[in-house]
Structures are given as C-alpha cells and as structure tokens.
C-alpha cells in the first residue's frame, strides 16, 4: 500500500532504483519458493523411485534401513525421477566444466537451440503481425483466412516436422532454416491472435478522431492502432517466444538429433539417461526464462517510453 502510494507520488524516484529493487525484491521470494519446490521434489523422488528400489533390493536379497533406502532412491543411475542434486551435478558438470564448443556442453546445445529459436521467433512475430494487419484491414481476409489459420494450428507439429525437414532436405535446405520454420509455425499464431485483438482495441473516440482527419489506413495504423496494441503485443510475444523455443526443440528430433537441447533430450531418453534429460530440461527452462524476461524488459521499456503511467 505504502509502496504503491510512494510510486504514485514519486514515479521518477521509484523508477531510479527500479532495477536494483527488482533484483533485491525478487531474489528472496524466488529462492524460497524454489527451495520449497526442491523439498517436494526430493519427497517425490523417494516416492517414485521407491518401488523399483524395493524390487532391486528384493532381488539382491537386501533389507536396507529407511535412511539407507532413501539414500539409494536419491542415487539411482537411471531413476524415474532424479533427485535435485543429481540433476544439479549433471547440469553443473555439463555447463561449466566442459568447453563450450564441445558437444557435451549444455551451453553449446543451448546455443544451437537458441539460434534457431530466435530466428523462428523473428519470422513468427513478423508473420503474425503481418497476418493481423491483413485481417484487421481486409474483411475478405478476416473471413477467409482466419478459419484456416486456426485449422493450421491444430495440425500436430511433430507429425509434420519430419515431413517439413524431409521436404526441405530434398530441395537442399538443411541446417537452421527448417528448424526456424517450425518455430515460426508455432509462434506466429499467438502473435496473430493477440495483435488482431490489439489492433482492434483503440477506443472508438480515438478512431473517430482519426476519421475526422481523414487519416489514411496506414496513418491510423501507425499512429493509433500500433500504440494501442502494445500491451497485447508483448503479452503475445512472451507466449510466442516460449512457443518458438518449443518448436526449435521439436524440430531438432527429426534432423538426427545431432545438436541442440532437443537432441540432448532425445538421446537422453533413448538411453534412459533420466538425469541427462532433466539437466537438458533445466537448460531449456533457463533459456526460456532468459527469453521471456528479455521480452518483458523490452516491453517495459517500450511502455515507459510511451508515457506509461506507473501502476
């Protein structure tokens, strides 16, 4: 309450220390919530790994005490649910102890995935905006295209990803482009839907004003619709960047799983290396947080430069 009030009274003063305050303000909650999750995680590790451990012990004819049993469930080589410290050790080892160019380095794989994610996200955002612009301006597009765009999104990506990769390989396109296209396919939709809403969100009075100036469609677009759509755009872009990452990872599977977080996940599951899978998942999540946070920060900067009033 007090904080909100000071914000009202001193938006400038509040924003000066914003970064440091966010850093100071959210580290503790994040850490404590994470700590809670880790505890739950350990408990689940015992529950989920327990039955198999019991089978093992039975076959080996051992009857360990509770503490020993719990310890064993936390140190299986291929657990159903690896314990946090197992994942952490693996993650640490593969992130910091390997040369970043080595194909065992998670940094390397994350980078491979990130590059096609970013490319796909850029394409996807551009395409989504383009489609939204078309739909908002041409009734014929709104009526004819929209239903098919929706239908296109219900095509299970994993079913067509291999075909896309095959078709592109057949015409000699390999590498990052096919992967990026699958990211594009997944990311353009949230942007398109959000932007259609956003571009239609200006108040009628504001549109009327443009009307009185006999502003052209493009002037109304740039000077009114675009600024009004900004909150929708950034909310959509956060979803899109996450979808884009998922798309890039999916697309890594049919390319033979050579490099990328998807490849790590696949080879991990192929060899039942659950710890590797989890480490790769953690890497994917870290990349996701970074991407979503960057989009969020850009959004804040844009909104601030547009005279956004501190909440």
């Amino acid at each position: 309450m007090t904080e909100a009030a000071t914000n009202l009274a001193h938006p400038q003063a509040a924003s000066a220390g914003l970064f440091s305050r966010i850093a100071a303000g959210s580290v503790f909650p994040v850490v404590s919530i994470l700590a809670g999750l880790v505890i739950v995680w350990y408990v689940f590790a015992v529950i989920l790994n327990g039955p198999f451990q019991r089978d093992l012990d039975r076959r080996a004819g051992e009857t360990p005490g509770f503490v020993e049993f719990v310890g064993k469930t936390w140190s299986q080589p291929k657990p159903t649910l690896p314990a946090p410290h197992q994942v952490a050790a693996n993650f640490f080892e593969n992130t910091f102890l390997r040369k970043v160019t080595s194909n065992r380095s998670l940094v390397y794989h994350a980078w491979v995935t990130l590059s096609s994610t970013l490319l796909g996200f850029a394409f996807g955002t551009a395409l989504g905006i383009l489609i939204a612009v078309g739909i908002v301006h041409f009734t014929s597009l709104d009526r004819s295209l929209m239903p098919w765009i929706i239908a296109s999104q219900t095509i299970p990506i994993l079913a067509i990803a291999p075909m896309v990769v095959v078709v592109f390989a057949a015409i000699g396109i390999t590498g990052v482009i096919p992967k990026a296209l699958i990211s594009t396919y997944l990311s353009f939709f949230p942007v398109a839907v959000g932007m259609v809403k956003g571009l239609r969100s200006p108040e009628l009075m504001h549109l009327d004003l443009m009307h009185t100036y006999n502003a052209s469609a493009s002037q109304t677009f740039w000077k009114l619709r675009v600024p009004a759509s900004v909150p929708f755009l950034f909310a959509s872009m956060k979803v899109a960047v996450a979808a884009s990452l998922v798309g890039a990872i999916v697309a890594e599977l049919p390319t033979g799983a050579v490099a990328g977080i998807g490849a790590k996940l696949l080879s991990g599951s192929y060899y039942s290396q659950t710890i590797d899978i989890w480490a790769a998942l953690v890497a994917g999540s870290v990349v996701a947080i970074l991407l979503v946070t960057v989009v969020g920060i850009v959004g804040n900067i844009v909104e601030r430069s547009m005279g956004g009033r501190p909440a």
Binding site: M205, H211, T212, Y213, N214, V230, G307, G308
Partner: protein, 270 residues
Amino acid sequence: MEFLERASLQPAQQTVVEARKLGLTFQTGDGPVQALSDVDLTIKKGEFVSFIGPSGCGKTTFLRVIADLEKPTSGTISINGMTPEQARQARAYGYVFQAAALYPWRTIERNIALPLEIMGISGVDQKARIKRTMELVNLSGFEKKFPWQLSGGMQQRASIARALAFDADLLLMDEPFGALDEIVRDHLNEQLLELWKRTNKTICFVTHSIPEAVYLSTRIVVMSPRPGRVTDVIESTLPHERPLDIRESPEFLAIAARVRDGLRAGHSYD
C-alpha cells in the same frame, strides 16, 4: 495572412451546411432511440452558430453527422455542396470532441502535432503551429507532459489546440470550454471571436452557457430532446465587434432571455 485573402475571394453567402429533414435513430439492445428528427438547418459561410439544448437532445449527434462520424437514417445533409464523406475526405473541418480524446502515449506537443503529421505538414511549420496554438490556450510549458499529468481543464485546452493547429475552414466544437473557469473562458472566447473574424471560418459551437452562446454567435440554435429537434433559431442582432462588456447591454440580455425561454420550453417536454 493567407486567410484574409481567401475570405475575401469567396461570396459571403455560400452555403456550408445544409440539412433537410434530417433524422437519426440509434438501434440499441433496448429498443430504438431517436436522437434527431426532422432537423432543417442551413449554415452559411462565415457564420458562428451555437447549439444549445438540454443534455441528451442530440447536439453531439448533429455535429457527428456533419463530421461523417454518424450516418443519418433519414433526410439529407450536404457540406460545402458535398456529401459529409467527401467533405471529410477534403479535410473540410476541425473537430473538438466533448471529451479530450488525447492519445495517452503521446506528449501534449505530439498530440497537437498528430493532425499536422497526418496532413503532411513539414516539421518546421509543425513546430511553429504547435507553439502558436499552445500559447493561444495557455499551455506553454506543458509541451512534454503526458495527458494523465494534466488537469481536466488543461486536457480540454490541449484538445482545442489540436483542432486549431490545422486551419480548417469549418470548426465543429463540442462544449470546448466546459471544464474551464470564467476567466480562462472569457479569454478563450475573445481569442476565438478574434480568430473567427480574422479568418472568416464557419463555426458550429455546442455550449451549455447561454451568455457564451449569445456572446459568440451570429445565430443560436435551440434544441429539445426526445426526439432531438430544433425548436428555435435566434439571429443575433449584436454587432460584429463585441467587447466583453457587451454582455451587460440590454440587447444582449434580451437575446439571452429568449434563449433561456427556448431552453426551458425544451425541458418542459420531459
């Protein structure tokens, strides 16, 4: 100034707005609302016409029809001999809305620049016009503020400045001075009269203040509600030259009394 020449070239009696049996009915979920009915009105070039009438009688709606923001459901209307749509496309008018309608993401200065940008006016010229109109409405010093950092009256003045910044021949003003105190209001009234006389603009002006209507207008249109229609049109017999103290003259008071009677009559229909 360029306006002087233009004014003298045109015959004073040219028709700017011509409404014949104009009617407009809104369809609402709750049944139709007849906002205008059988409105007949002719406005000549260079006139200053005030619209006065009880709240909800269709003043805003009538201005919106002239501005091609609303399509009449019966009757005809022409602007400068064109359809409202053609007139709008010719950027024939400037409109001050009843609410300020400033864009929250633009500073005051950029808000005033908006129509200038759209009409393709050069950067230098833009600057000059912004400065001039902001001075006119007493907002100098607030160029870089955002709308929410301004008081209600200041926002309204910014919206007036925005409409004045590009010199349209026809001005549609919907209660532009509603949120201003008497002193500023008097000042702006004088400024507006001055501008009008100098440039021979045609002005359609909605107000709730009887003295204001009488002081400014060459003609006062009194409207009454449900359905909105014109009940009286009062020609002002006041001279063109109007010092502020003309408002104490008996002639002025007589006109004001007639307007008040008209207004009261409108209310009795309620």
